[in-house]
Every structure is written in C-alpha cells, then in structure tokens.
C-alpha cells in the first residue's frame, strides 16, 4: 500500500472572529489547503467540529461547508470526539485513503466559539462530559482538570510553579507564529501570579477557547505527480483510543491510559519510539494535561512529568509546542488537532518561519477529548 501523504495545508488566525461565521472560517482554511496542494480537489471532506449544533445552531456541516466553497459531488461528514475531534478526523481520512475507496481527502477542523459569549460557552463545552452525572451538577472540563492537578500535586508533592515550563515555552514559541492568538511570551513569574480560576489552576494553566479553522489535503503517494511543488509529509502512524468518559469511573484518574495507548500505537506503526521525534505537540488545553500525557507515554515515570518537561524545554529536543501549542495559538477545540497537524507539516517542510525547528524530520502530535477520554495520536515524517 502506498504511503498516505499530506499535499496541502491551510489555516486561519486563531482568535475572536466576531465578523466571520463558521462557514466562512471553514472555507478560508479549505481553500488555502487546496491552493497549497496545487489546486487538487478532494473526493471526500471530513469535518472536525464539536460545537456547531450548540453554539452556531448548525448541523449537517458536511453539506453546508462543502457547497459553500464550491466542492460539488463530494462526500462530506462531521466527526466529533470533543477536543480529540481533529485527530479523530485525520484518522478517518487516513482510513478512507488506506481502504482504497477514496483517492483524495480533505480534513477541515472548524470551531466557532464566539457566536455565544459567557457562561453559555462553558455549558456547551461541558456537554462533552457525562451530562447526567457531571455536566448537570455544574462541573466543567476546566474544573475536572483542576481536580486532577490538585490530586497530582498532593500525591507527588509537586508545587504549582513546577507546571510553568510548558506554558512558558509555548508562549515563547507563539511569538513567531503569525496564526497564534497570543504572541507574547510569559515568564515563570507572570505564570505564577496570574488570576486564580479553579484552584490550584490560574489563568495561565488554561488555553483560551477561540475561533479557528485548519485544513489538510491528503492522498496516496503514488497519485502525486513527480514534479509536485513541495516536499511531501507522510502519515506514518495513526491511532485513536477511548477510555471511560468520566474521571469518576476510572480506577486511576491520573493515568491517561488512552493517551499512552494512542501514542504507543501510532509510534509502533511508524516503527519509532516516542523519544525519536524532533517535534512533539501535546494537548495542552490545561497545564496538567501534557504532564499526564508524557507520563502515560512513558517519557517520564509517574510523578516526574514536570521534571521531564523542564529538562526537555532546556534541551530543546524534542521541541515542545513549537508553534505555541494551544496555550499561545489558542484552543479551537475540534480544530486544535488539525492545527497541530498543519504546524507539524510546516515544521517538517522547513516552512515554519520564526518557529522553525532545525532539521525537523519526525513529529508526534496528540490531542485529547476531555481528560483523555478520547486520545488521538499521529506520527508525521518528511519524505526526503
């Protein structure tokens, strides 16, 4: 079977786009990816979206978003897996191409948050929890991340300051990313002094929810012209794993087992070890998430995740949150995993501008739905 390759990428600035609708956001990313792929049109369009029905009151995006940007006679469907939607949608496109039934597929992640402001947004996002036994009691994903962080600090005697390294590194990298929502680096001191939100978390332990859209065009390598205009990136590993939805149902809530399994499967398929990658994009929706993910993936023993992140930021290999992560780029939920893939492609092609990781050849990207209730991981590699 021929390799599955990414031939085009597109993205829009993450932020509060009051003047732009969900359809326009998606169209901009889709058209940019098609242009980047030299005008190649997809046979199938797979859409990652979480909140269209609740915040934009818009379902059936498969028909809306394709026809809006002139894609006729294609198949278009939405895939939803909360914050892991982007990775799950890339996985769906990968499966379709591997099946041989689809020759070219477009993945677009789109999230339109700002059609609603205030507590209504938190309510909609809380619908990704168990509504009967979590959401209806006033709990949100943010509160659950805080509960995890508090227990982690208690069990391993880790101070809040120890979580600073990932957000500090991410915001430093975001400065060079023209599509990032925030382009100002924070210091450890700024991190530590931010406004409390859900103890022990403060504002800088949380990535801002924001509007965004990102897109990828994929095909099989044997279908690409020999004189194609830029280097191809191969999807060499792909995995989605689910866990019990609620933290209260898991024997060990601090073990992100789905994250560990997804990363292990994607790396095994690619024939690499997680530590072999040059670029590592972890889900950093909350600062406890990357800590639990790297422990689950075996980078660090339990309780040592913050130490590993600190050492890795100093060493610079693998590069973490190389384009700012969710912390600086912003967190457009279902689109976040597609942004990760777009950013990894730019790094591997050597087109990441001020964020470029020198000599980047392999990238591992991971996105999570809820507190690793769903985990998606992909390995991307440049074809020399």
């Amino acid at each position: 079977m021929s390799d599955i390759v990414i031939t085009g990428v597109g993205q829009v600035l993450v932020g509060e786009h009051w003047d732009v609708s969900i359809r326009q956001l998606a169209a901009r990313a889709i058209l940019a990816a098609i242009k980047d792929a030299g005008g190649q049109k997809p046979e199938a369009v797979y859409i990652a979206n979480e909140l269209g029905s609740s915040l934009s009151r818009q379902a059936n995006l498969g028909a809306l978003l394709t026809s809006d940007c002139g894609l006729e006679d294609v198949e278009g469907t939405t895939i939803e897996a909360a914050g892991a939607s982007g990775g799950a949608t890339l996985r769906t496109a990968y499966l379709a191409l591997r099946s041989g039934l689809v020759d070219s597929a477009l993945v677009v992640g789109v999230e339109k948050i700002t059609d609603v402001v205030g507590p209504g947004v938190d309510k909609a996002i809380a619908e990704t929890l168990d509504t009967d036994y979590e959401g209806m009691l006033g709990v949100t994903p943010t509160a659950l991340a805080a509960i995890l962080m508090k227990r982690y600090m208690h069990d391993y005697s880790v101070a809040h300051t120890a979580f600073a390294d990932h957000p500090v590194a991410a915001t430093a990298h975001g400065v060079g990313n023209p599509n990032a929502m925030y382009r100002r680096a924070i210091t450890c001191e700024v991190y530590e002094k931010a406004e409390p939100v859900c103890d022990p978390m403060n504002l800088h332990d949380i990535a801002s929810y924001a509007d965004g859209a990102a897109a990828l065009l994929l095909t099989r390598r044997d279908l690409v012209r020999k004189d194609f205009k830029h280097s191809l990136v191969r999807v060499s590993g792909s995995a989605v794993v689910t866990d019990r939805l609620s933290l209260h149902d898991r024997p060990d809530p601090l073990a992100f087992e789905a994250a560990g399994a997804a990363i292990a499967r994607a790396c095994r398929q690619a024939g690499i070890l997680p530590g072999d990658v040059d670029v590592l994009e972890l889900d950093d929706a909350f600062s406890i998430y990357p800590v639990l993910s790297i422990e689950a993936a075996g980078f660090a023993p339990r309780g040592k995740g913050t130490t590993w992140l600190k050492d890795t930021v100093e060493r610079g290999k693998p590069a973490l949150a190389s384009m700012g992560g969710m912390k600086a780029r912003g967190n457009p939920l279902a689109a976040a995993g597609v942004y990760q893939a777009v950013e990894a492609v730019l790094q591997l092609r050597g087109e990441a501008g001020g964020c470029q990781v020198r000599g980047a050849r392999k990238a591992l990207i991971e996105c999570l739905g809820g507190a690793a209730a769903t985990a998606a991981a992909h390995v991307l590699e440049i074809i020399p």
């Binding site: 205030g118 309510k123 209806m136 006033g138 805080a146 509960i147 103890d199 209260h248 149902d249 809530p253």
Partner: protein, 132 residues
Amino acid sequence: MEIPRHWRLKQQRYALVGEVCPHCDAKIFPPRDVCPECGGEAKEAYNFSGKGEVYSFTRMSDGPAGFEEQAPYTVALVKLAEGPVVTAQLTDLGDARVEIGMPVEMVTRRIRQDGDERGMIVYGYKFRPVLR
C-alpha cells in the same frame, strides 16, 4: 429543561441508588448495563450509604449557564465507602477547610433551576462534611 431526563434519574439523584453486580459483588455507581469490574450483566439495585471521602476538589469561581448564581462553589470527586467514585458539589462548608481525604456524606439539595421563574427545579445529591 428536559423533564423526562431528570425524572428517570430520580432514584440516583435523590437516593444514590446504584447497582450491585450479581457476578462479582462489585458496587456500581452510576448504574449501567455492564459491570465495569467483571464485564457481566448488572441490573440489581443497590442503595449506597452516602458516606465517603474527598478524592480531590476545586473551587470554581465561575459556573456554566444555569449555575452562574451559585458561583463560587466547590466540586469534588468523592470516593464512596462502598468503592465507586462520584462527581458532585460540596455544600454546607461554612468555615470548613476542604482537604483531600476529608469525610463527607450525601445530602439532598437544589442542584439548579431554570432561569424562568415557572421553570423546573432540579434536586439531587451534594456532599457535606460529616457532622460530628
């Protein structure tokens, strides 16, 4: 608000009724069709004591829609004496300093109310520090 949805959960919300697995004797909450411990079919009702301890908690400074007026409030994972963990609000805290491991017990409280003054009021479980 969705009346049937709350009505069918009344045993869980008001009395913390879960299940006991007929195969492995595991106590299960929330109730479900399959025992999470042994994979067998589970359907026998079991009344939990409502006693437990705090696994972890946080104080939310803002609530989602429907909970704005309650904020700030404290939510926790409570490990029940019978084994399962339940997500719930803590209540009646007064000056009590919440800590991991703190003994708590279930009480019935108003969970939320429709913004509309004629709307439904949802009652259910919260947990308070054990009265000494």
